[in-house]
């Protein structure tokens, strides 16, 4: 069974569009995260969500919004996509102070 899954794996879209990436974890973890990995492979935390508390990295544009319908899901919605949003987005989950389990990633290409 896949521990952390993401869909879609690849997403190609045009500037200005709105898109969502879905994430699900079946590990029963309390905390879920979204990371962005840019073309230089730099991994940067975007959001963490724990028991309905959202912690936002201050550098993330407000066009990005996480939505958690329940404890096992943390989706990422992006409005008005820009060229600079092209990257690989990883979802992850963990228990407090535990290892983070990463999903397979979603490669977003904005044209």
């Amino acid at each position: 069974d896949t521990a952390v899954s993401q869909t879609p794996k690849y997403l190609v879209t045009q500037m200005g569009n709105d898109k969502s990436i879905k994430c699900e974890q079946n590990l029963g973890h309390d905390t879920m995260y979204w990371y962005k990995q840019d073309s230089k492979k730099f991994l940067k935390i975007m959001f963490s969500y724990n028991n309905k508390e959202l912690i936002i990295n201050e550098t993330v544009p407000n066009r990005f919004s996480p939505k958690s319908p329940d404890k096992a899901h943390l989706n990422l919605h992006i409005n008005s996509l820009e060229l600079g949003d092209s990257a690989v987005y990883f979802c992850a989950s963990s228990q407090s102070n535990g290892r983070e389990y990463f999903g397979p990633g979603t490669r977003l290409t904005v044209t």
Partner: protein
């Protein structure tokens, strides 16, 4: 606040040893080490909590010097499968809800 990793890249022959360092300017609660291969997700290697512990995982081990706010990853008798980019991820406080602040990574290439 981003930890600094060194070296940026290293090329080894199979069987040689490597050390990857991770330093922080801010006090650390824990250090997480991950390896990522091209086109794949980061894979967990180990966590070190403050207390100066050292951990081992087969031929890969790590240390955490809380006073110096740094951690080192040791790869001994490297294998071809060790190739990839190694990231240290740092936590500055307990609770585990803030996510990890990653270094820029160390590219490791193992040649036969």
């Amino acid at each position: 606040q981003q930890p600094v990793q060194s070296p940026q890249a290293v090329i080894l022959r199979e069987g040689e040893d490597a050390v990857i360092n991770c330093s922080s300017s801010k006090a650390l609660y824990s250090v997480h080490w991950y390896r990522q291969k091209h086109g794949e997700a980061p894979v967990f290697l180990m966590i070190l909590l403050k207390g100066g512990e050292q951990k081992g995982h087969e031929k890969i081990s790590a240390s955490f010097n809380e006073k110096k706010q740094q951690s080192s990853l040791y790869l001994t008798a490297s294998q071809l499968s060790y190739s990839g980019t190694y990231f240290c991820g740092t936590e500055f406080s307990g609770g585990g809800a803030d996510g990890l602040t990653f270094g820029k990574g160390t590219h490791l290439i193992i040649q036969p």
